[in-house]
């Protein structure tokens, strides 16, 4: 990122190639529609490009990038009227009902087995805060501390979110 900020366009290409898939999946699995995901994905990278001069290598680039993504997702949730399911909602907060949401379609197309379908449904039913923490951990490979830094949440809260998410998904797999 520092090389890119110094004017090395190739450095950005390398960064982008390394993180594009994980960031896109993180965003896509946090938003209801692919169109939303693409829009937010683009916004995240545009923000990273714009803020390149302000990047300071105090934290990992991944943490910085996911912090941007987290902020854009939070904005999007607010705009989409998902304030009933805020990022900081308690673990027993209202749950997004996937049955009301056509977004589960991509997942459903691929999910062959019954257990997998339940898993997908449970995943989409996770509160955004839990889903975000779980995806950051499993998709982006961030540690609990990094997730806490990226989301601005307490480490214990992040641990709790991941634990709750994992438990719900396991229950879905078990039927």
């Amino acid at each position: 990122m520092l090389a890119f900020a110094a004017g090395d366009a190739g450095a950005f290409d390398r960064l982008y190639a390394r993180h594009r898939g994980t960031v896109f999946r993180f965003v896509a699995r946090s938003l209801p529609t692919p169109a939303d995901a693409e829009e937010v994905f683009q916004e995240v990278w545009m923000k990273a490009i714009e803020a390149r001069h302000r990047y300071e290598p105090r934290a990992k680039f991944t943490t910085w990038l996911y912090a941007i993504a987290h902020n854009h997702l939070a904005d999007r949730w607010r705009k989409k009227g998902l304030s009933l399911v805020p990022l900081d909602a308690g673990e027993d907060g209202p749950v997004h009902d996937p049955a009301d949401d056509p977004s589960h379609e991509p997942f459903a197309q691929v999910a062959a087995g019954e257990a997998m379908a339940r898993f997908v449904a449970a995943f989409e039913a996770l509160p955004p805060s839990q889903r975000e923490a779980f995806v950051m951990k499993e998709e982006a490979g961030l540690s609990i501390a990094e997730i806490a830094a990226a989301t601005g949440a307490d480490i214990e809260a992040v641990k709790s979110r991941v634990r709750y998410a994992t438990a719900k998904l396991r229950e879905a797999l078990d039927g």
């Binding site: 366009a9 950005f12 982008y16 898939g21 999946r25 995901a37 994905f41 991509p106 994992t166 998904l169």
Partner: protein, 284 residues
């Protein structure tokens, strides 16, 4: 370790199952067009980098420039406010400060140049006016006699002619403006620049006496100007207007009286004309 993970009673086994299920989800990838757009934006940003950096110093100037602009605006407003004619308590407007300050400066020069003891009290006023302290002057109570501001205004008209001065000298010396001496406490002032007096003193006794002699003429002129400007500045009272309409009516100028009455009602829709006045102002 792997065997232990396969053990259903092990929490790590559950976690592993969940992770495997999550990894089995479809591998989503961003569209190629999006990739191209983002890479192109990055290249554009790098290409525009030096330009953006060059624009930064301009932004650093934004704060000083805005501060300077605010100061200039404040000074402009202050000057503008200074030029506006304040109205003192009795309703007569004060001459604009530049009109006051110039003659006042002249007056101060005339007074302060020599060491005339009679003008000690009057010296302070022009100095205050020349400094633009109009607010302080306006705030003072206004006795019927000319104030310090009046002294300044008095100097504004041209000095009286030689004959007028002679006539003034012939008059008993009861004309000096006492209020000026009452208002301003004796005060030692810095010597003002000492240009030549405007006119040579007639009848001698120094520039202060000359000023005192000029005062009655200037006071007359000031009074007439003040009265005229007061008429312009102070709105007529309803009773005065009605009186005027009644006069018109009494003189038989009914059309004009009707017009004035209509104007009165238009200007003062809330004013209730008493029956007594109605009898006098309405056409019979």
């Amino acid at each position: 370790m792997a065997e232990r993970r396969d053990d259903p009673s092990n929490p790590a086994h559950d976690e592993s199952r969940v992770r495997d299920a999550f990894r089995a989800l479809p591998p989503l990838e961003p569209p190629a067009a999006l990739d191209d757009a983002i890479r192109a934006a990055a290249r554009r940003a790098v290409a525009a980098g030096p330009v953006a950096d060059a624009a930064r110093p301009a932004r650093r100037w934004a704060m000083p420039v805005s501060v300077a602009a605010v100061m200039a605006l404040a000074i402009g407003v202050a000057l503008h406010v200074d030029r506006e004619t304040p109205v003192i308590a009795d309703g007569s407007p004060v001459a604009p400060p530049q009109e006051i300050a110039k003659p006042a400066a002249k007056e101060a020069a005339v007074i302060a140049a020599p060491e005339g003891s009679a003008g000690t009290a009057t010296r302070e006023e022009p100095r205050a006016i020349a400094k633009g302290e109009t607010a302080a002057i306006v705030a003072r109570p206004t006795p019927p006699v000319p104030l310090a501001k009046d002294t300044a205004t008095m100097a504004a008209p041209p000095l009286p002619s030689r004959e007028e001065r002679r006539a003034a000298n012939a008059e008993p010396p009861a004309a000096p403006p006492p209020a000026v001496r009452d208002v301003a406490p004796p005060q030692v002032i810095a010597p003002a620049p000492a240009p030549a007096p405007i006119a040579p003193p007639v009848g001698a006794s120094g520039p202060a006496a000359d000023t005192a002699r000029a005062a009655p003429f200037a006071a007359k002129r000031m009074k007439s100007e003040s009265a005229a400007s007061m008429e312009r500045a102070v709105p007529e009272s309803p009773e005065r207007q009605l009186e005027r309409i009644a006069d018109l009516r009494a003189k038989g100028l009914h059309d004009e009286a009707d017009r004035e009455l209509a104007r009165f009602r238009r200007e003062r829709p809330d004013y209730r004309i008493s029956d007594e006045w109605l009898a006098r102002v309405e056409r019979r």
